[in-house]
């Protein structure tokens, strides 16, 4: 603690003398300029060939066939319906996952009970299995003909598979881990002293949650919501299986994109894909903004 008052040692002095804009360099950073350049440009070439140029190509292809003509597919009746259904799905699935995700994270971090490790592993399953298998699981459970409980729902006039509820269920399943996985580390980091203090001062569980817990986890929750939204917007495999892909009825925007390519309306397909790509770029922007905010807080 007194070190700052005394003359600094030779090594620290050397550190001070370094130009401020240059980070400290280890033995692997200096040396052969060629090796560094070779590595840098191979990495940049890999990223350009695999990621950056292909994404730019979508925008080029959309404009190549004439922007207005391409966009006619998106603004057609089926296209607009697909857009509407996608937005409705996001508006139902994401809030449900946010509420249950935050609750699950709190239970996992703040409580001790038998079977917690199993529950914890269960949450990651949607990331580890194919979306097609997720769709199959929902059909086997809720399908009107051969689902285990689907028949009961069907007889009572509730159609889940080949209808909007099935699409929403599929989207909830695939995006279930995001909010939990973003909130758990934040909850762990902040600890529970403040919550205990609030309880000691007479706050109920609700009040403690709204006034103490939620304000400190808000950026974790927001990040989870952005990731869930991106996933639900673009979900293809699970929705393909459960929706029946009926044009103008159960077709979401990603399914609509595929349909356009299958009927050889490539321009329309590229245009609809561009809408989704633009939404993804927006998501990316939000992710970066939230990351910056988190660092500052």
């Amino acid at each position: 603690m007194e070190a700052s008052a005394f003359p600094i040692s030779g090594e620290e002095q050397a550190l001070e003398k370094r130009p401020k804009d240059k980070r400290p360099r280890g033995p692997l950073d200096g040396g052969s300029k060629w090796a560094r350049w070779a590595l840098r440009y191979s990495v940049l070439f890999y990223l350009a060939a695999l990621l950056i140029i292909p994404v730019i190509m979508i925008f080029i292809r959309t404009f190549e066939d004439g922007f207005i003509e391409s966009f006619e597919a998106v603004t057609s009746e089926a296209g607009l319906h697909a857009l509407k259904l996608t937005i409705i799905t996001v508006l139902i699935a994401v809030p449900i996952n946010t509420v249950f995700g935050v609750l699950t994270a709190i239970v996992l971090v703040r409580q001790k009970f038998r079977g917690k490790a199993f529950l914890n592993a269960l949450i990651d399953i949607p990331f580890a299995i194919s979306p097609v298998v997720i769709g199959l699981a929902l059909i086997l459970l809720y399908g009107p003909r051969d689902g285990f409980v689907g028949e009961w729902f069907f007889e009572n006039g509730i159609q889940i598979i080949f209808s909007t509820p099935g699409i929403v269920l599929a989207c909830i399943f695939v995006s279930l881990p995001f909010v939990v996985r973003e909130v758990v580390p934040v909850l762990r980091e902040i600890g529970d002293e403040q919550e205990q203090a609030a309880t000691t001062l007479g706050a109920g569980p609700w009040q403690t949650f709204w006034r103490v817990t939620l304000p400190s986890i808000r950026w974790g929750v927001t990040y989870g919501v952005v990731l869930s939204t991106a996933r639900v917007l673009g979900e293809f495999g699970a929705v393909s299986v459960v929706s029946g892909r009926i044009s103008g009825q159960t077709e979401t925007l990603p399914l609509f994109v595929r349909k356009q390519f299958e009927v050889f309306n490539q321009g329309g397909g590229y245009a609809a894909a561009m809408v989704l790509a633009a939404l993804a770029l927006l998501t990316l922007l939000l992710m970066n903004l939230i990351n910056k905010k988190e660092e500052r807080v």
Partner: protein
């Protein structure tokens, strides 16, 4: 005064504890029910259906030649993609942390794009550049190379994002100590840097493998889904569902799940062994 206040202070939190226990049990009950209904019961339905007609019929469905071809391609492609990701992902993380060049921040934020981009769009982006009318004259559509490329695209961020934070935290004193003792740059990387990165690389590799083995959306347009050639397991399962054979689809799904879990457990064991050393 302090002597008489102490027992009271100990007793104070007690009344607050009782209502919390009630809400704790309620919230735990809700979470267990939620995860059971959403994840556990649907998965149990798949396992149950796959064995519904007995073990013999499960075996027949799982070892049908077309299913075996699809499973073989899936596992081999996923392994190849994971291996490429280990090398390329570590190199990308290294350049993003240790190198400096204009535009680095932009490149860094682009790495997450495959997570944000819908999988069907990922397939179309590659089709736009490497499809049949490729502007650069390279066509990978409807080939195994196309399958590999689509999987590389969707799994790109896993290893990079796992290695990056570890590399930032890594203490350079060790490298300097090794250098001052006369170690060559290659030796420093192999003996000092790599062992420190190993758990992160393996964690990223496990996630990339799990993702690659179940990938569907990015392959459906790019791979052409030629049975026995470019048809992966999830596309095969999809075809079985479409033709009404849900039992066969469930059997291959269970095999796919088992492979995925086995690899995840194996990689987890390797990562733990590395930490123990």
């Amino acid at each position: 005064m302090s002597g008489s206040a102490q027992p009271a202070a100990v007793r104070l939190p007690r009344p607050a504890f009782r209502p919390r226990l009630g809400s704790a049990l309620l919230s735990r009950g809700i979470v267990v029910t939620w995860l059971s209904v959403m994840v556990l019961i649907p998965l149990a339905a798949v396992v149950f259906r796959s064995f519904e007609d007995g073990l013999g019929s499960f075996w027949d469905y799982a070892t049908n030649p077309q299913a075996l071809d699809a499973l073989r391609l899936t596992v081999l492609a996923a392994l190849a993609v994971t291996a490429i990701n280990v090398v390329a992902g570590t190199a990308i993380a290294w350049v993003l942390v240790r190198d400096d060049f204009p535009g680095k921040k932009l490149i860094n934020s682009m790495i997450d794009l495959p997570f944000a981009l819908p999988t069907i769009v990922a397939g179309i982006t590659l089709l736009a550049l490497y499809g049949n009318d490729s502007p650069v004259g390279i066509t990978v559509a409807y080939t195994v190379a196309g399958v590999i490329m689509a999987l590389l695209f969707v799994t790109l961020p896993f290893v990079v994002r796992a290695v990056q934070p570890t590399l930032i935290e890594l203490d350079r004193d060790m490298e300097e100590a090794a250098a001052s003792l006369g170690a060559s740059r290659f030796t420093i990387f192999r003996r000092i840097v790599l062992p420190n990165l190993r758990p992160a690389i393996l964690a990223g590799a496990a996630l990339a493998f799990a993702r690659a083995i179940g990938e569907f959306g990015s392959l459906i347009l790019l791979s052409g889904n030629i049975p026995g050639k470019t048809e992966v397991a999830s596309v095969f399962i999809f075809g079985q569902i479409e033709s009404g054979n849900t039992t066969g689809a469930a059997a291959v799904s269970v095999v796919l799940l088992a492979i995925s879990l086995a690899i995840l457990i194996a990689l987890g064991a390797v990562a733990r062994r590395g930490e123990a050393i």
